[in-house]
């Protein structure tokens, strides 16, 4: 597990400590086993999550991000995320990149 810090984390840590465990927790409730990778689709056509599962997943991922921050924490569903032409919640990989971006901004504050 990563240490409690406001410093940016590596992409491996973001995937391994934040995105995959959060997704695994949601997918564990499903009957069919789903393999996770950076191309796993989270939102839109071909998504492995329904809309309610996506909400729960984002809350879980945000909690995992914030557990590693000294500050109150960030909000994944920011205005910035919602106004982009392509959503950062589309795949595991795009979400990890977006979290990395937010953590870099948080560290710069």
């Amino acid at each position: 597990m990563t240490t409690n810090t406001n410093k940016p984390q590596s992409m491996e840590a973001i995937l391994g400590d934040i995105v995959y465990p959060a997704l695994e927790e949601i997918l564990s409730a499903k009957e069919a086993a789903i393999e996770m990778s950076e191309t796993t689709v989270l939102f839109g056509e071909g998504a492995v999550l329904n809309s309610l599962e996506l909400v729960s997943f984002i809350v879980l991922a945000e909690e995992r991000v914030n557990d590693n921050l000294e500050s109150g924490g960030i909000t994944l569903t920011s205005e910035k995320a919602m106004s982009r032409s392509s959503t950062p919640f589309r795949t595991v990989g795009t979400l990890a990149e977006y979290i990395d971006e937010l953590l870099q901004e948080e560290a710069a504050v």
Binding site: N66, S71, G72
Partner: protein, 232 residues
């Protein structure tokens, strides 16, 4: 069952302080907040200086709750401000400030509370409206509009959070003698009370009784409701 954990906003004085002391006396672990330090203490009460409309401040409150207790059972969104004025004479800054505290504050605390509650699939959120909304009181258009927004938000959040075992309800108090109404002329207050089925001022105990009902474990089939006091 373990000790209930309860967050209450606007606890420095008035109804918020009463509720914080009341639930702490009942054995709850209470976390409260206001824009200034509290001048009272209780063994089971933590006070955090926070602006309810500031997202970073709100997140800080819940970080404290999560770190210290790991869960949250009850969220009581009491913090609110009012301004009595004819809408033709109401400056925009007043509108912004009333909506910031009443609507943004309620939204932020409900959202962050639900995130913490959903993990344990249990939670009670009680928001505060007012009888000024159904009574359509003149001179209170912006205050009543902000409290109407809280009712509407609560009704929809109730449906969105039901999946996670969280109920969302509103209490709509009549006037209670607090700083919020101290400047309202007596004649206006008498007119308002005359429109209630039970014609008297509300008390802190009346409000606590309604909150008690909504946060009971047995109230798990009651959500999206607004309970107006005084028979309004």
């Amino acid at each position: 069952m373990s000790v209930p954990v309860t967050v209450i906003t606007g606890t420095r004085k008035g109804i918020g302080q009463y509720l914080a002391r009341y639930y702490a006396d009942l054995g709850h672990s209470v976390v409260g907040c206001s824009r200034n330090e509290a001048d009272w203490t209780h063994d089971r009460y933590d006070h955090i200086v926070a602006d309810v409309a500031d997202e970073a401040d709100v997140k800080r409150v819940f970080k404290h709750v999560k770190k210290k207790y790991g869960r949250l059972d009850n969220m009581i969104n009491n913090a609110g401000i009012a301004s009595m004025n004819h809408s033709l004479l109401t400056p925009l800054s007043t509108v912004t400030s009333i909506f910031d505290t009443n609507v943004k504050g309620t939204f932020l605390f409900a959202r962050e509370a639900a995130k913490l509650m959903m993990k344990h699939r249990y939670g009670r959120i009680v928001n505060f409206s007012t009888v000024a909304y159904p009574l359509q009181l003149t001179g209170e258009s912006i205050y009543a509009a902000s409290k109407a927004a809280i009712v509407s938000f609560s009704e929809i959040a109730a449906r969105e959070y039901a999946e996670y075992g969280i109920t969302v309800n509103c209490v709509g108090p009549t006037p209670v003698m607090t700083d919020l109404i101290r400047t309202v002329p007596r004649a206006k207050m008498d007119d308002l009370i005359a429109r209630q089925a039970i014609q008297r001022m509300g008390t802190f105990e009346d409000v606590a009784n309604a909150v008690d009902f909504f946060i009971r474990k047995e109230s798990d089939f009651i959500t999206g409701q607004c309970l107006y006091l005084g028979g309004v």
